[in-house]
Symmetry: C2
Subunit: 344 residues, 2 copies
């Protein structure tokens, strides 16, 4: 370990101890946090630990000019915690493994950590520990939460007749990324649409509270977070639901997905960037919205209250059917890019 | 996600499901493993989850010519699980975050994972999940275990009069690394010593069973695993034990540390590489042995049985004293390289 790393660990420890989570304390009980060889944490009585890891790597998930140091840290936490949301788990804590090039300035390092710590606090996650290593810029975040095993919402469980629902506005993140890729040459567009799409890419939020609300009110049969795009991730749900010898597919209401993207002017922005709004809503990844299948009667009833409570829509985008593959309402097969793995 | 990544995840899932851990099942109960958004795992009744993360990065912790793909994977698991051992935790499972350059061959990827999975199985850890990302070659491993909160052995707790003990042969890993760095120009040396030092560097083992034995029989007051070197890591124990207004230090029996390294001819090998055996035993890192402080009467009694049971020595290397700093038996201050942070 380089001598400077001890100083950084000392700073981290003080900074982490000074970062209480929102609402007092996270789920479970923390016996021992940062500063020992490992953290000691207990899920609440009757609940199991929910564990997941995700990473953000420079040059793959972001470029340095696209995000501030703080946004890199925050995005790493949010995208990892999004997998807790997908299980409808309660937030517990995070372990942050940071990889920093040797020439990383102190300020960049601290801003990165503060961004991660602030996002953790916002999500109700304690800083349980971490690791600091030299290496190409990357952050790997292990998120820990808790759920009653019989209540956690997995990927399996979709049934024919389920409605397929999505939260928020899928596709915005892809448009935000396209804006950053076109930097300098980007088209004129409504400031509101630009801001919404850039935020979707730069500062996604794990839909933790939304997921628990849905688990309670809508009782999803299956749920996933949208990291690879609505079509891909719906494919995962259908594939998992297809075990036991019955193949599942879905009929998608593409017009509803496209209409979501039109909200706030993002459809026009997509077109001005040369992106097809429908295809972007279907295949654009990294939205970290929730995608679920549920009994339509129950979900439709909850949608209005959901929007009032969380300020984001819950939209039915299709129906699970007992024939494999994705089709549009008029029966045409949908083959979104990158969707080659589905229905094998 | 690149299309090839789905194939890899599918392969990983099948490979992980076919990898039961040693002795049937790990501590705790696994409800849901690889293949969903997150794993669901419960520590055994009355125990808390023990959580830690560590990483191995190409160019920092290893060079590709030094380790096979399988050794890279195994080393990443062992060095992470070593922090579970340092807490005397029972092994539960691991989450593997792998970063692979885009041109990584399928065989390298599979060997890397198999090496990690085999090491996990050997250590009694289930594969709980993971993440696959493009990026420079690195593996970040989150290890999860369990312990009764009142029984876990932390870094705090050292007291004046405690003996300082170490398992195994600290310094061997540093000599192994020096051998690899000198590749081609390495000196002639006993094959046995070469093999022992290369193994110490390439395939360290987390001392999980040893740690639980020590926790039960020796009741260490404080414990840590030797990743930064005996002097540095002893410094951590003394620093943590120094809270509450009393500063701790230690008197070290350097001759015993050096004698450990002479076992099997490693001292001669060190000298032939231009390394001072005493300094190497004191400052060489990455041994992943256990370093603990305990009541000498109890620990001394357990040492013989420990060696018989595990095939490695448990050696007293010094005494905790109520004066800060490290001294040798004849009273001279010891200032090992990199030890600048201690006694501030």
């Amino acid at each position: 370990m380089a001598p400077g790393e001890f100083e950084r660990i000392r700073w981290l420890r003080a900074a982490a101890e000074g970062a209480p989570v929102r609402g007092g304390s996270p789920a479970g009980r923390l016996f021992l946090g940062i500063g020992d060889d490992a953290a000691l944490w207990s899920p609440p009585s009757g609940e199991a630990a929910v564990l997941t890891v995700d990473a953000q790597v420079e040059g793959i998930h972001f470029r340095r000019g696209w995000l501030t140091a703080g946004q890199i840290g925050a995005r790493a936490v949010a995208t990892s915690a999004s997998d807790l949301a997908a299980m409808a788990a309660r937030p517990g804590g995070v372990l942050l493994a940071m990889f920093l090039p040797p020439d990383t300035e102190e300020r960049f390092f601290r801003d990165l950590f503060r961004g991660a710590a602030n996002e953790a606090r916002r999500a109700g996650l304690a800083i349980l520990g971490g690791n600091l290593s030299a290496g190409p810029l990357a952050v790997s975040v292990t998120s820990v939460g808790s759920a009653r095993p019989e209540r956690a919402v997995g990927r399996r469980g979709a049934r024919p007749g389920d409605g397929a629902y999505v939260t928020g506005w899928p596709g915005r993140s892809r448009i935000g990324r396209a804006l950053l890729e076109a930097a300098g040459g980007e088209p004129r567009a409504s400031r509101r649409a630009r801001g919404a799409c850039l935020r979707a890419f730069r500062t996604p939020r794990a839909r933790l509270a939304e997921a628990r609300y849905l688990a309670e009110r809508v009782r999803p049969r299956s749920m996933i977070d949208v990291s690879d795009g609505v079509a891909q991730d719906l494919g995962h749900l259908l594939e998992e639901g297809s075990r036991r010898g019955r193949a599942l597919g879905a009929v998608l209401e593409l017009s509803r997905l496209a209409a979501l993207l039109e909200e706030g002017g993002c459809g026009a922005l997509a077109r001005s960037l040369g992106l097809d709004p429908s295809a972007t809503a279907l295949s654009g990844g990294e939205d970290y919205e929730l995608l679920l299948s549920a009994e339509p009667e129950i979900a439709d009833r909850a949608a209005r209250e959901f929007r009032r409570r969380f300020g984001i829509p819950l939209t039915r985008i299709g129906t699970v059917v007992p024939q494999p593959g994705l089709r549009s309402e008029d029966g045409r097969p949908i083959h979104p890019p990158g969707f080659d793995h589905f229905g094998e």
